[in-house]
């Protein structure tokens, strides 16, 4: 009898255990603290994106869990994204076109397909700038001269070839019928150094983010010949877009966010809901304005398609640039 009494009891315990297990499984994502990886040192664009996300998501009470920003610098994102790959769905990482180009340039095994696309958030535009007293008055004058003798014109870029600063000009040049692999690039440490070199007259032109040169343009210290946006940019309406300058291209320098591989539909839907709210807030708009960024929100589905389309584009650009054979 005693034995028989024990079995139902054990069954009951098992059942309870199973129930509580179920309950934990049903508990809505996210159950833990959220971690946002900035795959770079503090201070750069990725870090600013991650910290602004944290700031607005927490400040506006959009996400109840604690959000921590973790810096994992190294290898143009490689270190941070390798780390992301080994984490669960409570870790997300900031990305940009480097998630495509690292692989295309043969510098990384990781591809965009190794991760779950969550969203594209914001974009910067690229600018081509020359010294204020340059002999080039328009983008087409610059391109004409470059076409004639590509090696005679020194173009500053930073911090490495294969980034958007470099590839945006590669695209413009190849649209114009110049072989981009013949362009004479001088590679500086970063965007700031590139601008210093231009102001000091050590290079003939620079290709960089618009935010690096916008104030200098307004102060008359240098001249922006073209921006890569669709429409003229607020504040510098006098600067033509590449399209207006006769080169058919729009080149966003976008930043987004992605998760580790194999996130569930529910988890993706959670972020679609939260991030679509985030981009509507005034605080996020302020972040965009402060950084000279522009809203470029795409939800997870749109981002997936966008990445595929960008992958094809970058494949062509990297090949045109002559960086790989």
């Amino acid at each position: 009898m005693k034995k028989h009494g024990l079995i139902p009891f054990l069954l009951l315990v098992l059942l309870l255990a199973a129930c509580s297990g179920n309950a934990a499984g049903n508990k809505e994502y996210p159950t833990n603290n959220i971690e946002i990886v900035a795959p770079a040192s503090p201070g750069g664009g990725w870090d600013l994106t991650a910290r602004s996300l944290e700031n607005v998501l927490t400040g506006q009470d959009l996400v109840k869990q604690n959000i921590n920003v973790v810096n994992k610098p190294g290898g143009g994102g490689e270190v941070g994204w390798q780390y992301l790959k080994s984490q669960d769905s409570h870790t997300l990482a900031v990305n940009s076109s480097l998630v495509l180009t690292n692989n295309l340039l043969g510098q990384s095994e990781l591809t965009y397909k190794d991760f779950t696309p969550i969203a594209t958030l914001a974009t910067e535009w690229q600018a081509l700038a020359v010294p204020a007293d340059s002999k080039f008055k328009t983008a087409s004058e610059f391109l004409e001269a470059t076409k004639k003798d590509p090696s005679s014109i020194k173009i500053g870029v930073g911090p490495g070839l294969g980034n958007d600063d470099h590839l945006s000009l590669v695209q413009a040049a190849s649209e114009f019928g110049i072989n981009p692999s013949e362009l004479n690039f001088l590679v500086y440490e970063g965007g700031g150094d590139v601008v210093t070199a231009l102001l000091g007259g050590h290079v003939d032109a620079v290709t960089t983010s618009l935010s690096e040169v916008k104030d200098q343009h307004l102060a008359g210290k240098l001249k922006i010949l073209a921006v890569s946006s669709e429409k003229p940019v607020k504040g510098i309406e006098d600067v033509p877009t590449w399209k207006e300058a006769g080169v058919d291209m729009v080149f966003p320098h976008w930043r987004g966010i992605m998760g580790p591989p194999d996130m569930t539909e529910e988890e993706i839907a959670y972020w679609d809901k939260k991030l679509s709210k985030l981009v509507e807030t005034k605080e996020w708009q302020k972040v965009l304005d402060n950084n000279d960024w522009e809203g470029f929100y795409k939800n997870s589905k749109e981002t997936k398609a966008f990445l595929e389309e960008q992958h094809a584009l970058y494949q062509k650009l990297v090949k045109d640039s002559g960086l790989i054979n």
Partner: protein, 507 residues
Amino acid sequence: MDINSFMDGLSIALQPVNIMWIVIGGFLGTVVGMLPGLGPATAVAVLIPITFSMNPVSAIILMAAIYYGAMYGGSRSSILLNTPGDGSAIAATFDGYPMAQKGQAGPALAISAVASFIGGIMAVFGFLFLAEPLANFALKFGPAEYFLLMLLTLSAIVALSVGKMVKGFLAMMIGLALATVGIDTQTGVYRFTMGIPHFSDGIDFLIVIIGVYAIGEVLYNFLNIDQQKKEKKKVGKVWFSKDQWKRSKWPIIRSGPIGFLIGVLPGAGGTIASMIGYTTQKQLAKNPEEYGEGAVEGLAAPESSNNAASVGAMIPLLTMGIPGSGTTAVMLGALIMLGLRPGPLLFEQQPDTVWALINSMFIGNIALVIINILLVGLLVKILDTPAKVLYPIIVLLAFIGTYTLSYSTIDFFLLLIFGVFGLFMKVLDFPIAPLVLALIVGADMEQNFRMAVLSSSGSLGIFFSSGVSIALMILTILSLCYPLIIKLVNKKRNNKNSAEEKFTKTS
């Protein structure tokens, strides 16, 4: 200079809340500067979330105070433990540590605080009157000039190792070799990374500093721990003597402007400024043989210089939006998030902010010299700490500092390797500074050389094409020949003396 804006700025900087931030920032900077590996860049980055809720003016005042506060703090551990907290504190080990060993730790700490103060104040005045022309002067520095400036620094440091030049050159070569690790900037080729993505950004010089100095020093003392006598080390008075002040006065005043000018150049920074400050002082000195043995001038000069450089580095940041160092780069990021964009328009659009910052640097330097002199009495107690307590703490701090650099455990292995390496260097009597300095400037030096040659289509003539580059070239040759010149002069003097002796004998 606009008197009204200046007064407005002063009144903002004197608001109690801002004075509080200045003192907090200065103290925090002193502390992180002291700890190996934890530098002002890390401290500013950690504070970014806090600055979100702050008024932008207070935020920039706080961050600047941390930055120059770290210049005060950096030399503390150089003097007491022979472990610099940052690149700009390396020069303080040359004479600061020997002074402490001679029982003059107190005067060494005090004179370095005063030297930092005077250097800082001189630089703030420079900022007031010369910001604009200097910013334009800095632009003249192209790749060729940068390459030559770094070459000058390297050759000046190697020339310091009088009597063991070959070892100095060897240490420099090892440093330059280490600097080649990582992605090559011009071509994007991965060099010596052994397939580990962590190495793609190169070997962080701070790990090498912590390893070679801190861990190396601990291991070295471990070797002869049995021979150490139990006698209590003297720490000396907490204030310097009149004679010491007399000897340091002019070196401090000379080195301030040197450091300030170098600080204005984007990318040069406090390390090069303090090294140039030290070597200039030594080469001008009447008693060069005392340098490296605990000459008070040899400590005062680089201290004045590196603090002036940290003020100078604000000029390209504020007038052009160009960060001149790691810390100012982090500051730029933080300021942009606050909606304050440093650049050519800042002086016109927000003069209050700029003038408040400049004035806060006056107040900050005064606060810091007081903080640091008050701390002298406390800090010298470190020397009384028994080795078995002190050394584990140093090792622990070294590991923590290393981890905060890039949050990776791979760096621990590097730290240990360089620790053992540092031990061998000490045992074999190799100079350490050339190795560390070569690693700090190596990658930039290489890239600037290549850019210079690329932009002149392969001609080396570019290194003689401007007045600045020719001047740097001459200084480099002079500094390399300096040991030879000294020898010749001494010989002549000896000959003369012996000739005179003969003369007196015969007469």
